[in-house]
Symmetry: D2
């Protein structure tokens, strides 16, 4: 392909608009040619100043628009399955914001459709794999210099949770990033989940079990603990320490400017994941564009999206019952190595 | 009291010798007047250059030596109960290295003896309470500025474990410090214990379950996770982050000299608790001497020693059974407020 | 302009090849259409895999090649003046790697040519202005929150110097970045230079005065000290602390992954400016492309390149004579505000 | 000596009272037996609760009081010479707060008196040598692991200056610590001084040249730059980076507790040197007591006090004249090695 990749973006909300800005901005080699959103006014606003981008109320119409060579799925999760199956049917590479679909059953249907196709077209938006610090950690672990990983200690904090966020969404929506990161960093599947529930913070909405301590056991005998605290009030923080046989490695304490003034020495804490992971999103979309121009997908797969869904569902059960819950995955199709 | 406090030191091993050096060295207001150790040659070596210090093979003889006004118990834990009961009987203030006694039953007997006496004579050697960073953390939590504590994340790492260290000693001997620190920092009792066991490190002796992730629930609804890793190979590290409703506070990453040279920017990690907590030991003994000169004990109490023993025993059961284990304490005598 | 900006790259050495890779890679909206290098084999190698890029032995021929809409000057500095005057003559926006030209006299000729033209076409490659940390520092200083800047403490270290590097090049080639950064951060001109010369490091080539401490006074009464050490042996480090009336702000200690293993806690130090400032180069070229597509130039100007040359020449004199040397700039043309 | 060292403390002001508290508190092996201050009420207040300590209005009377075996000079600097000569005459070990005396001429008289005596009795209160971080830096430099030191970058900041502080006192009173630290760390004499004067901070009292950048050249070819800023407003900060042939080492960024809350991640900056160097003062006095009990003095000598005075006077001239000023020391008596 010599020209820019023609992309249809489904969904013009927070993430969709950010991706539209990104494609043609910090990401070259691609251009947005169609945007779909039932709220077409919102879609129009997102493409303002970009002549030639067609706005659609219907996602499938956008996929069939002229010049569409790939699709970026940023619509609500309930719409993901249909969009992904349609992309597979049309042979269009797709980047799908997480979660893959709203649950493991639908995720499995997507996996099976892609497996039948026999080649990867879908990349799931687990952008941490594209963060420079996480990539350095992955590379260090893979090098074997520190020996086998024994534990991961993870912290995941948001300033505040959106309306309608439920206790199980702390796991399915937020910890899903750690589920993927742990599976990827360790190269292992998660086999059991336990959830400890401190008395909720007074800063959390009434009824929300926030924070939680989510514990994973893995197929290789590692243990992962995740603090998830979505109303911590002070910033967006994602930290991870990998404890290995011969040392530990820690990311997420990155420091930029230190300001000393009355009251102490201070570093800013980013308030938002679009700020903290801005470069990771850029790299993610850049990598997706590069692969899509070759007609394929790389990076986090539909299988990774499915596995995250199964683990999150086990986490939901563990949260409800207060018990250790085992995780049962289907057999992994050969396509996913 | 106008002269220096006359101290009998029981036990002239690693800790005992360190305390002998400390009293009269960095700690003023006290002098060692008697040392007891069945290995009298070791005791003689520990007091070399200190004319006038009497060496005994028998602990009780040392307590009865002329000029003894207080006793520092650094003998093997099996000898603690007899020494502490004897100190109570003689009205001698005692500083007892942790653990108070080898188990909760004997610890309770000491508690009951002191409670019958009706005044505190015993301080247990949980020296972290005297560490400047832990003290700052305690003070911050008590101030209420960050709201109620929700979680404590603790790391406790040793270069290597001594011979004969068993899997349950990771909890009873090492994590006992976090048990006390958590109870003290939070002002709450521990109510349940769960232990997760990663596949052991190849750096640990055959058969030793090292590392472990030990999880505590507390009477106030907080959750505490402790990584204990006694063969981490690279240093002695004790870190703690308190996650509260309005912020978090972290200690134990103290940084001194940063050296930049080929290979990166490096900070030294202390190799030993006597190095890491040297100042805390000084302050601990100084505070004990000050109280003992007034004929009393302050700081960590026999009750704290008893509670730590009960929690550690529950931890041992949790480790063995792989199950959440509840903690049942006796009624706290009025003496311990 | 709706298509990608057609760029001629002059020079296919280290920087030129890096920019060729960047344009069409991490930087969208532009494409390399011509490359000039007297060593055409080197130029061919730099464009391998890019069909349609024309290679020239002669710079002016490349400027006149079809489709050229802008020019990136990465040729040896002796060739800059001719290239920039030719770009001005053709109305082509130009990004010129630093230094603008080999000296202040030639730099002034470029300034005057652009001033006669009456609009800015030239951007000089002072990429620090595009570094996220420097940008945060600039923004903080401009906000006035810390009051007036009083001092800048700068460190600039390279692993080792290239062959033929001379003592005065520590200032003209390396410190030129601090000259620009100080002028930009403070919004002031440099008025005097003093250079202190420690006994050279045994790690520096025979005869090279390395390191040096270069001191600037500014028109607003600030003082800037720069450690330049081009054979420090351990890494590429650029740090800056701005000391202001109400506080200080420090950048360049950015920390990514901390690894604890035998020997201490370690952070990697980047070895190369192309690594340390990779994102800054991306942003620099992206900003240049965006402005060039509108037919103009922004960012560091030819005047900034001229001022840096004058200050560097004063620094050379100060180094030679061991004396404080005053800086005399020509009148600034209105074009440069 | 078997009992506690009997100490006369001259001066019951800020430092004197702190030392009185220290002796018998954190420092054992010594007891205050006499205190002298013209303001006897202040002296009485400083020894409240210490029965048996005699208060004198006259310093020499205190030296002659019964039980006095050593003297701690914390009186105003104008009184130091007489006190030190009297201590020498009586053979009493003395710890003298800096400066040794008000100027180099009187300092030389003290040096000569001690040299005639033929043994060291005087220790000057340059307490940084007893700070754990500075000691680690000294030890690293002496090890030769980083090669020869080339530069020291020093920062010295106070929240605010006391009344009547003059521009030259920034050097003679504050930078005197860096003068001693540089001489000690490098094992070299200072040979020349240059002072750069930024436009004063609006936070400094009218007429005070604050901050200053003070530059030293040394006999071994090293260069030392010192930012002195005594009205920085935010804290007491003392930092030092030693740049060597094979790496750099940095102290003074010590970090204790990190608090994350709205606004960022924050570390406290100490507000006062008695806080920042509390442990150093303890160690200093402890080391002095230990040597004094053997009838001698170690640590920073009268010669160090004299050299600091000469360098400070050169600094004053450099500040006044705006010129590089050479430093001329007398011949060093053999007593000072």
């Amino acid at each position: 392909m010599s020209g820019a990749l023609g992309v249809a973006v489904l969904g013009a909300g927070h993430m969709g608009a950010d991706h539209i800005r990104r494609i043609g901005g910090t990401v070259g080699g691609a251009r947005v040619v169609a945007v779909a959103d039932p709220d077409t006014a919102r879609a129009e606003a997102a493409v303002a100043g970009r002549p030639g981008v067609r706005v659609h109320g219907d996602a499938l119409a956008a996929l069939d628009a002229p010049g569409v060579e790939a699709v970026l799925v940023a619509s609500p999760e309930a719409a993901h399955e249909e969009a992904l199956l349609a992309a597979c049917a049309r042979g269009l590479p797709a980047l799908c914001e997480k979660p893959l679909t709203p649950g493991s059953a639908s995720a499995l249907r997507v996996v099976e459709a892609e497996a039948r196709l026999g080649r990867r077209l879908i990349q799931v938006g687990f952008m941490r794999r594209y963060d420079a610090e996480y990539a350095a950690l992955k590379s260090l672990l893979d090098s074997g210099r520190l020996g086998r990983p024994l534990m991961l200690h993870c912290r995941h904090r948001n300033v505040s949770s959106p309306p309608h966020f439920t206790s199980s969404m702390l796991i399915s929506s937020s910890v899903s990033h750690e589920i993927d990161a742990a599976r990827w960093l360790l190269g292992q599947e998660i086999t059991a989940v336990t959830v400890l529930r401190p008395a909720p913070s007074s800063g959390a909405p009434e009824g929300l079990l926030d924070p939680q301590l989510v514990l994973f056991e893995t197929s290789g005998g590692a243990v992962v603990d995740v603090e998830i605290f979505v109303n911590c009030g002070f910033g967006y923080e994602v930290r991870c320490e990998a404890v290995c046989e011969h040392g530990s490695a820690q990311v997420g304490d990155a420091r930029a400017m230190v300001v000393r003034s009355a009251g102490g020495a201070r570093e800013e804490v980013p308030q938002d994941y679009l700020v903290r992971f801005a470069d990771a999103y850029d790299r993610e979309v850049r990598a997706w564009v590069a692969a899509a121009r070759r007609g394929r997908a790389e990076g986090p797969s539909a299988w990774d999206g499915y596995a995250a869904a199964v683990v999150a569902e086990a986490g939901g059960a563990a949260l409800r019952d207060g018990r250790r819950t085992e995780v049962a995955l289907e057999r992994r199709p050969a396509l996913y190595g």
